[in-house]
């Protein structure tokens, strides 16, 4: 799947600026970005719901730039599922095969097999209205996968689920993707989701690609300050400022420096190469606690550590800051 110089505007608003992107067969590819970054537009252009102003879209080496959605070998899992409310689960899943005139027996078997893959065997006679959110999500997945598309597009598919279910579905989605071996293009604004599931991630901002790489590259070697900021709560400084603050403790190159919160160590007892800072906010997160400290009037640094260790830190206290390398 390849996008070549694809641009799209809605009236005066440019949603995408000449985007180049290519995905490998069978890969789990995430498009990560804040709302309004153009990530959903990319998806709609691949699906064919929108046509690009310029540039070309290739699926499996074939130019599909001007093709209608029903002529493209891709399927979509919508954010709000878009199941057909008047059909049973079985009919929903059979739909793609039915409109392609696959025989009755064959399509019923195909749909049943796919319902088993998403662990909804035995739910075929229900209507979508009788299912929970997580179940509808899996029907939507089965309905798309039964067509054996070259590429499956997922538009924030877990957005409407609660946290617990979302985490379960993340594991399950990844497992299903590996089992069926189809390219997944997964749009999300949740960096945790993107990092934990993907083979590669593209970070979008204001209609442009900021960086494409493996989750590890994106997290550990952000190429732009936007990526550093958006993927994990990073403390970002210019190289000179970082040098002035942390001195030789910092091993870094480049014009901007990002320090991840888990690299920051705070301690109540004085340390040799430590810097005295003041606690201005404490956020208890369960296993971890996030602490905001002020280095001087302009600079706030965010650190994160085990709650057990940071138990005694109070707002207004002076503590010592060092860097873990």
């Amino acid at each position: 799947m390849t996008l070549e110089g694809v641009s799209k505007s809605y009236g005066a608003v440019t949603a995408l600026h000449s985007v180049d992107l290519s995905m490998k067969a069978g890969e789990f590819f995430s498009i990560l970005g804040p709302s309004g970054s153009g990530k959903t537009t990319v998806l709609r252009l691949i699906a064919g719901f929108e046509l690009s102003d310029s540039g070309r879209v290739f699926i499996d080496q074939k130019d599909v730039t001007a093709k209608a959605p029903f002529e493209r070998d891709v399927n979509t899992v919508f954010q709000d599922y878009a199941l057909f409310p008047h059909m049973t689960v079985q009919q929903n899943v059979e739909y793609g095969l039915m409109v392609k005139k696959v025989g009755k027996v064959e399509r019923a078997a195909g749909a049943r097999a796919m319902l088993d893959v998403v662990r909804l065997g035995g739910f075929g006679d229900r209507k979508p209205g009788q299912l929970s959110g997580g179940q509808r999500q899996r029907v939507a997945l089965a309905r798309a996968l039964v067509n054996k598309p070259k590429v499956l597009l997922l538009d924030e598919p877990l957005g409407a689920l609660d946290l617990k279910l979302r985490e379960e579905m993340q594991v399950e989605l990844k497992a299903i993707q590996q089992r069926v071996g189809i390219t997944f293009v997964y749009v999300t604004h949740d960096q945790g989701e993107a990092l934990s599931m993907s083979d590669r991630v593209a970070v979008f901002n204001e209609g442009c690609i900021e960086q494409v790489g493996t989750p590890r590259e994106i997290y550990e070697k952000p190429e732009t300050s936007f990526v550093a900021q958006f993927v994990g709560t990073n403390n970002i400084f210019t190289a000179d400022r970082a040098k002035a603050l942390f001195g030789d403790a910092l091993k870094a190159t480049g014009s901007m420096v990002a320090i991840r919160p888990e690299q920051i160590r705070l301690s109540k007892t004085g340390m040799a190469n430590g810097m005295s800072v003041r606690v201005i906010a404490v956020q208890y997160l369960g296993a971890d606690t996030r602490i905001h400290v002020s280095v001087d009037k302009q600079t706030t640094v965010i650190g994160i550590g085990a709650s057990e260790e940071y138990k005694g830190m109070l707002v207004g206290e002076d503590v010592w800051l060092t860097l873990n390398n």
């Binding site: 699906a47 064919g48 719901f49 209608a68 959605p69 029903f70 891709v74 399927n75 979509t76 919508f78 709000d80 599922y81 878009a82 199941l83 057909f84 409310p85 008047h86 739909y95 793609g96 039915m98 409109v99 392609k100 209507k127 979508p128 209205g129 959110g133 509808r136 309905r143 798309a144 067509n147 409407a160």
Partner: protein, 267 residues
């Protein structure tokens, strides 16, 4: 909501009072259709089925009933086709003047019938078209379209916008999407709109009076014309009862259909 005992009782009384005031007269009409007397005398001294057994001999009533059914059927057919297409267009496309079109489409229901009637009569006469069944059908279609349009538009607005996209994404052509997804989801509202429009057309008097020539007499007009003739009056009550017996189940059906038993959200 918590309501005190006294207000609960008085609210209940008020509700029953209003319902009785509305429906008792209808019951009286039914009772009177069995009254052996020619006048609306009360209480009826003797009951008879004479009026019911001879109603089919009253040729003018039979003729009027046929005219009304023909008229309502034609007006509803036009209204359902045009109203559904309009609702579809306004829902799916954005174009210059869209709000104006939508406003003009529903305006006839707010216009007094007498204005519509006079305006149409004038226009027909000016152009030298004969008044007859066709002109009445045109007059009725103006307000029937509004009912059909409103019903279908309300349903389309409640439909999840992306079910059609999902269908297309799964490989369905435009026609298949309409046939398997859009139509099944909207058909109830089309039928419900048609039934309501039929009921509205069936008892319309004002527009009918202005747009019908001398040759056309609908059932409501027949009732109006014969109301003060003592020897026909019992037949009027029979006809009124028949009309009720037909329209009540239809109204109930229309309500069932437009409520839609299943959720349309598609979630």
């Amino acid at each position: 909501m918590q309501v005190s005992r006294t207000s609960r009782i008085s609210l209940r009384m008020a509700t029953y009072g209003v319902l009785v005031a509305m429906y008792l007269p209808l019951v009286l009409v039914v009772v009177l259709s069995f009254n052996s007397s020619n006048s609306f005398s009360w209480p009826p001294r003797k009951f008879t089925t004479r009026w019911w057994s001879t109603i089919l001999d009253v040729e003018s009533a039979r003729h009027a009933l046929l005219t009304s059914i023909k008229l309502a059927t034609l007006a509803v057919l036009i209204a359902v086709v045009l109203g559904s297409l309009l609702a579809f267009a306004l829902q799916n496309f954005s174009f210059y003047g869209k709000n104006t079109v939508s406003f003009l489409a529903v305006l006839p229901i707010a216009l007094p019938g007498i204005v519509t009637g006079v305006a149409m009569r004038n226009t027909f006469m000016r152009f030298g078209w004969d008044l007859g069944l066709v002109s009445v059908v045109a007059g009725h279609a103006t307000f029937c379209i509004v009912i059909a349009y409103n019903n279908v538009a309300a349903r389309l607005r409640r439909m999840a916008p992306n079910v059609a996209e999902a269908s297309s994404d799964l490989g369905a052509t435009g026609w298949q999407t309409f046939r398997y997804v859009t139509w099944p989801l909207m058909s109830g509202s089309v039928v419900a709109g048609g039934i309501l429009a039929f009921a509205l057309s069936f008892d319309e008097v004002v527009v009918t009076t202005f747009t019908a020539g001398s040759g056309v007499e609908t059932l409501p007009q027949w009732i109006l014309n014969n109301f003060s003739r003592p020897n026909v009056l019992p037949y009027v009550t029979v006809v009124a009862t028949v009309v009720m017996a037909i329209s009540l189940p239809l109204a109930w059906l229309a309500q069932r259909l437009s409520d839609g038993a299943e959720s349309l959200a598609g979630r």
